[in-house]
Amino acid sequence: MDDDLLCFLRAFLTELVGRYFHLQQFVELTRRGARDGTPNLLIRYGELLQKKTRLLLGFSETISDLPKDAITARELEGPFRTLLNESREFQSLHKALKWFPTPWPGSELFQFLTQLGRERGVAFKFDTLNPTAVLSDEYNFLTSDVNQELPVSDSRSNLVVWALPKGESTNPLLWPVLTHEVAHSFYGRRELEPTIAGLLSVNDNRYKEVLISWAIELNADLLAFRLLGPAYLYSLMYFSIFFITSNLRTPVRPERADLDMGLHPAPETRIRLLSTEADSLKERLKNKDRKKEEYSPQLKRVWKALDQFTKLYEARLRLDHTAQPFNQDDYDGFPNQVVDKVWDAIRTFQHNDLPDVDITVKELETSVDLADRLARRQLAASVVPNPQGISCVKEFVESVENSGRDEVLDRLDERRPSRDEVLDGLDERPASMAEILNGGWQYKTRILHGSPLFKVKPTELKNGQTLESYSKDNFLEQSRQLQKSIQTAIILASISRFADTPAGIKYA
């Protein structure tokens, strides 16, 4: 049990280091856009990020090779507090990106969402939105609401803006956040207020506005979970345990205190409700095949990975309890007692409105194979392994990344893939977005439990590698691999023989 605490702490440190690498990568992208040499601001900021990264890497030695009596909540509370503060400082540094020019997100973000909409049968809703996605300097997307800050954004303008933290622009594992934002655009106050109106007693009425804003958030969580399955729960838990610096039982207020409408339920509440949803999904899948009560070996692995990740979350709750006890009196009167009723009402409403959007058994099962493939550093773009077949598609993706559009067309002309190559590619069933992200999170769970920072001793590093360069390669490679898998799957989906098969489920 206490080993879980240490595992959590190591994962926390690992993830902070990883976020700094991603931030450095973003700064590097900005630097390339500077026309007259590199501005001093960028240089100094880059140095600061590097200094922070090195400090954190140094902590890996502090929490290595610990005696047994050091591994208790009481003892580990100190390092936990230090890392919580580092997480807060990382988020402040992320905010400094507002002084840098901000690129628009790459088209892959839209492709990802469009493809997800197609696979889940909600493209008809998505197509009417015509959204804009922006990269935000606010890291904490749980409180971010870019629409509230734009004076042109009101109910009449039909302007839909979704924000992703700049540092996560190349990390698909946090893209499920956008799915939550999509859900906000599908359903707003107008749809949800009547749904929960009957639940309010006279006493609850005092907190009507809070309850409505909670209902809006919970509804978005539920839809994101239904579309992506555990991948959404993973991303919410991940963000909460590493980047929410207050006690997880505390309801989250937006930074602008006057925006009571933006108030979110405590992360602990959201995760608890989504976990019950995961449990009922688990139960449904078990009952699917009544002849045997067992899950398939793949499904067992899906739940095992989720359980492992949940242990990290539970360790965070325990350390919260030791380091920063939650005082219920500070939040007396928050409508916690009706939140379960709100959840039930939302579920009924949403299942009636969108009955068939849930992740499927087949997708969950396939996600395990994709996680294995990612662990072998292979693309997770299709569910029929055929590396030769996807090579021409892969080449196309690389061309898109490295060149302007015209050059890509020229190159394709020169390249002229053979008929067989093209047909091999067509024979593959593209992996769905939900499959890839679930595979990605399962793979990530393995990494968090065997962090590269604690796996390799500095003496084992080869060819002049440092712990910094070694872990940087590891971190950025994971995201690159996942991003490329998504891009390739999307291209494959547009040319595959199985393109019309929703998420390829009928294809076994």
Partner: protein, 131 residues
Amino acid sequence: MVSADSQIETYDELRSHSAAMGMVLFGLKYKRPVPACDRQLEFAVRVCDVVAEGMQLRQATRIESFEDLARVAAFSSTERRQRVNAEKLSEMAAEALAVRDTLAKIRESMNVSAAELDKAASFFKSLYSVT
């Protein structure tokens, strides 16, 4: 010797250095290397100064220097927080002196007991929780 650039001038600095001491004191207790340990100890001594002397300075009729003025400002910012009451603050001001001694011993590579390290850890934990 405490250098000039280790002044604590803001409430954020007070909180941040209190938090950083969690890892430092853990490392010292279990004899594990801690990056930038000396520098962090230097800041921690300053934190103790702010808490120990801040209360007295705030009541003084005359503030001698800008450094003292900054110390009072940092201390007062803690006091203004709703989560700390006057009694708890005086308790912490008294503890700060003992913790400062412990930190000074560590900086001079003198032996420090596990109990002293625990006491220092508990002080910084309390300070973090009220900031």
